[in-house]
Amino acid sequence: MRRAMVRVQTTVNGQPAEFLCEPRQSLLECLRDILGLTGTKEGCNDGNCGACAVIMDGRLVNSCLVLGVEAEGRTILTIEGLARGSELHPIQRAFLEQGAVQCGFCTPGLILATKALLDRIADPSEAEIRRWLANHLCRCTGYDKVVRAVRQAAAELKEACR
C-alpha cells in the first residue's frame, strides 16, 4: 500500500503525547524507543511474561501485543506515571517494604497489574491476587512476597480512602 509512518496522538501518564511510528511497531517499542519511557520492560515479546504490561483506558494490557497505532486516542499509564515527584505510590512502597523486588525486571508489570487489580477490586482475596498476577513471570521472588505487597497496598489504599 503506502508504507507510510503514522502519526499517533495519545495521552501518556496524564500528558498528551504524539509520536510517529511504523504500523508494525508495538506499543512497547513506541514507549521505549520513541518516547524514551524505558521503565516498561521487554521480556518474552509474545504475551507470556507480563514484563511489558501497561494500563490502557483502564485495562491492563501487554504492550508487546498492542500496536503503537492502536494507541490512537487512548490513555496510557506506565510505571513512570505512578510516583508523584519523589513520593512513591503506595503500591511501589509496599513492594519495597515487603521485599517483593529482587532483580526488578518484572516489577513495573507487576506493579501496574496490582494497580489495575486494586482499581477494580479494593480488597482482593489471595486467589484473586494470584489470578490477576498469573500473566507475570518473576524468576526471583517466588511470588509470596509479591502477594504480601499487594495485600499491604490494598490495606493502605483502603485506609487512605476513609
Partner: protein, 290 residues
C-alpha cells in the same frame, strides 16, 4: 515483523472496501494470536484492518426475543464482567475469564478465538453447546451458520476472502437448563487446554430433555459430539447415563500426541472432563428448575 500497513475503519462498508482492495489484508481484533504469529513469521499480511472501531463488532446486548447479540471483537474482560452474560449465560462468562490471563483478556475476543481456529480454543465448545450462530458478512451480504460449521481445520475457517465474522447470536437459555466448560491444563491460568469439554443440558423432571457436548484439543477442529447429546435425550439423568455419554465423547475424539500430551492421555481426559462437565451442567439445570 515484516512491514504492513494499518487501517481502522469505522464501519463495515469501509472494512469490506479495504479487504476487497487489498487481497493481502487480514482483519485484526485483539491481536493476541495474530501479532504473535506474524512476529514468528507464521502468518503474513500487507495490511491489517483493525475491526475494533466497527460498532457491529462491539455489540453486547439482548434483542427483543432475549437472544444475546455478541460482537466478534468484544474483549473477554467485557464479556466476563457483563452482568447480563453472568446471569443468563454463566458458562460464557466463565470461559471468557479462562482464556490466557488478565492482560490477554483485555484484548482477546471470542470472535478472534474462533477465527484463529486453534483446535485447542476454549471459546468454541462453549459457543457450540449454547447453540451460537455466527453472523458472517461480506460485500455481497450476510450469511449465518452454526459455530460448529465455522472451523474446517487447524487455523482454517469457512471465511471467504473479504468476509468478516461480525458476531454471534446466542438463543436465550431455556428454563431448567445449565451449561459448563471444563479443561485440563497444568497451570490454572496462562495455559492451553490439553483437552476440554463443554456441556449444556435441559432437565425435565428426573430426565434429560436434551443435551449438547463439545470438545477442545482432541480433533483438528473444536468438535461438537452430536451422538452424545442424542444418546442422553429422554434418558433419566443418572450417573450411568452421564458416564455412557462421556464414553461416546471419548470414542468421537481424534486426538494427536504433541508437546502438551499424548493421544492416550487426551482420550482419558475426554471421558473424565465430559463426565464432570455433564454432571455440573445437570446440577445447574436442576438449580434453574428449582
Amino acid at each position: 515483523m515484516k512491514w504492513f500497513d494499518y487501517a481502522a475503519p469505522g464501519s463495515l462498508t469501509e472494512a469490506f472496501e479495504l479487504l476487497a482492495r487489498h487481497p493481502g489484508a487480514r482483519p485484526l481484533a485483539g491481536g493476541t494470536d495474530l501479532l504473535v504469529q506474524m512476529r514468528a513469521g507464521e502468518r503474513q499480511a500487507d495490511l491489517l484492518v483493525d475491526v475494533k472501531r466497527i460498532p457491529e463488532l462491539n455489540e453486547l446486548g439482548c434483542d427483543a426475543s432475549g437472544t444475546l447479540r455478541l460482537g466478534a471483537a468484544v474483549p473477554c474482560c467485557v464479556i466476563s464482567e457483563s452482568e447480563l452474560v453472568r446471569r443468563r449465560w454463566p458458562a460464557l462468562a466463565e470461559v471468557a475469564a479462562m482464556i490466557g490471563g488478565v492482560p490477554i483478556q483485555s484484548r482477546a475476543s471470542l470472535g478472534g478465538n474462533l477465527c484463529n481456529a486453534a483446535p485447542s480454543a476454549d471459546g468454541p465448545p462453549v459457543l457450540m453447546v449454547l447453540r451460537a450462530i455466527c453472523r458472517v458478512a461480506g460485500p455481497s451480504g450476510e450469511r449465518r451458520l452454526p459455530v460448529e460449521e465455522f472451523c474446517i481445520g487447524p487455523g482454517k475457517t469457512v471465511l471467504a476472502p473479504g468476509e468478516l465474522l461480525v458476531g454471534f447470536e446466542i438463543p436465550p437459555p431455556e428454563p431448567a437448563s445449565g451449561a459448563c466448560y471444563l479443561r485440563f491444563t497444568p497451570r490454572a491460568e496462562m495455559d492451553i487446554a490439553v483437552a476440554g469439554a463443554a456441556a449444556a443440558v435441559r432437565v425435565e423432571g428426573e430426565a434429560i430433555g436434551w443435551a449438547r457436548l463439545a470438545l477442545s484439543a482432541v480433533a483438528p477442529t473444536p468438535l461438537l459430539v452430536r451422538e452424545a447429546g442424542e444418546y442422553l435425550a429422554g434418558k433419566p439423568a443418572t450417573e450411568d447415563a452421564i458416564r455412557a455419554a462421556a464414553e461416546i465423547a471419548r470414542d468421537a475424539a481424534r486426538p494427536i500426541s504433541d508437546v502438551r500430551g499424548t493421544a492416550e492421555h487426551r482420550r482419558r481426559l475426554v471421558s473424565v472432563l465430559a463426565e464432570r462437565a455433564l454432571r455440573v451442567a445437570v446440577a445447574r439445570a436442576r438449580e434453574a428448575q428449582a
